[in-house]
């Protein structure tokens, strides 16, 4: 009988297998190197712009990252970005399980909940990182908002932390324009604010449709994405001030990124646009009309700004990439971090 290891067929086969194994090893090493470089870049970026020390603690292979006590994007953006960047860094690193420690939260605004949801979806669905979990706030009032907002519906949690509230229209989410959802929000507002006129109702409906349409048509230009971008929406009735606060968030590429794709740096510098906030302001004014190079498009954001100027909506805030606009007084807030997506927040009194 011929000994196997001497046959020429066996020798040829094992040579091919060895070649394939070496190719796989080289590919794996390359991926590890790319990931290390990415992690270093993220870490350096984070340390360069860090404003506060985020509390972390490790227990075995689980890393606990504490959320800021003031859990609010609109009121505490720098500390919130520190928190989310710390999380992102460890997601990219990939070696540890992450626990988002929300127990110390003392104040909470709905925009932070939406942003947290959008990032969790990004980590689990786009980056395929599933080793992330969280706990609940200890403060009873904060826990109540958490439960009533519908946040737990979107994460893997038991039904015991889901409650309904008359004062919160729980989080809605989709990737398409949904007129029926916009109607639901309008009806909620009509029910809560007795002075809400039909004219304001139509403006609110149009604002919501514009926001959803912007996500569909302009936010999705990142070809690396697996899933199309989505939007999230929440409405909260503040009984003490008798106003309704709306927050709309999408996880697209952001307004400034969309503009950057269309116009080159020289053109933008010529017009004096040196930062994302100025770009967003100019979009609100109707400049840089649309990414699609079709003149009749791109009226959505200017329309929303028009409603603000007509006082049909109030306290408009827009955050996108590194731009932070407070429409009252056309104020821009210096912001050196990258906000993933676009957030619009406004009130109706």
């Amino acid at each position: 009988m011929k000994r196997k290891y001497t046959s020429s067929k066996y020798k040829r086969r094992s040579k091919i297998l060895l070649k394939k194994r070496k190719h796989k090893q080289r590919k794996r090493k390359k991926l590890i190197l790319i990931r290390k470089k990415k992690l270093l870049r993220i870490k350096n970026e984070y340390l360069r712009h860090k404003h506060s020390n985020i509390r972390t603690s490790q227990k075995g292979k689980q890393l606990s990252i504490s959320a800021p006590e003031d859990f609010s994007i609109v009121n505490n953006i720098n500390e919130m970005m520190d928190f989310f960047d710390e999380v992102y860094m460890h997601v990219i690193d990939g070696r540890k399980r992450i626990l988002l420690d929300l127990s110390r939260i003392k104040t909470l605004t709905p925009d932070a909940l939406l942003y947290l949801l959008s990032l969790l979806e990004y980590y689990t669905q786009e980056l395929k990182f599933k080793k992330i979990s969280g706990n609940y706030p200890s403060e009873p009032n904060i826990l109540k908002i958490f439960e009533e907002s519908g946040f737990t519906k979107y994460v893997l949690a038991d039904a015991s932390h889901r409650k309904r509230s008359e004062n919160i229209l729980s989080i809605e989410s989709h990737d398409l324009v949904q007129g029926k959802t916009a109607k639901k929000v309008v009806d909620f507002t009509k029910n809560k604010l007795k002075t809400f006129t039909p004219s304001h109702s139509r403006s609110l409906y149009a604002t919501l449709i514009e926001c959803m349409a912007n996500v569909k048509n302009h936010a999705y230009s990142d070809k690396k994405r697996i899933h199309p971008p989505k939007w999230w929406l929440i409405a909260h009735h503040d009984e003490t001030e008798n106003k309704i606060k709306f927050v709309f968030l999408d996880n697209g590429v952001g307004i400034p990124s969309t503009i950057h794709k269309k116009f080159d740096e020289v053109f933008k510098k010529t017009l004096g646009f040196n930062n994302d906030s100025q770009l967003i302001l100019s979009v609100l004014d109707g400049d840089f009309r649309t990414r699609t190079k079709q003149e009749w498009r791109g009226k959505g954001l200017p329309k929303i700004f028009e409603y603000f100027q007509q006082k049909r909506i109030e306290n408009l805030i827009i955050i996108s990439n590194k731009g932070f606009i407070v429409a009252n007084g056309r104020k821009t807030i210096t912001f050196d971090r990258k906000f993933r997506g676009t957030l619009l927040s406004w009130d109706i009194v």
Partner: protein, 102 residues
């Protein structure tokens, strides 16, 4: 004269621009409700569009429905054959004329 009431004949909750954007969009409205009358060369009837009783309109719906019609059939032809009722929000008519003329 042919009357089309959007809230009754199409949708109380008009959406955005294209079919790919979501339901009740402007493209579908234009193709199903407006274009058949313009494709028929013997038909010169006026189309009276009633904009009332919907929840509201996004700019992209209006532009795709009426501006899109003008881009396909010509501004003059569309302006001649379309008339609008909008008692609840009269500013819509001027807005739509703006989309048609662009």
């Amino acid at each position: 004269m042919i009357k089309i009431k959007i809230s009754k004949d199409y949708s109380e909750t008009p959406g955005a621009r294209y079919k790919t954007d979501g339901p009740d969009n402007g493209e579908e409205f234009r193709i199903k409700f407006l274009e058949p009358y313009f494709n028929d060369k013997d038909n010169n009837e006026i189309l009276l569009i009633d904009l009332d009783d919907t929840e509201g309109y996004g700019t992209s719906f209006l532009d795709e429905s009426f501006g899109g019609l003008a881009r396909k059939y010509g501004v003059d032809k569309v302006l001649k054959r379309l008339q609008f009722i909008s008692l609840q929000d009269p500013t819509l008519i001027e807005e739509i004329h703006g989309y048609i003329k662009k």
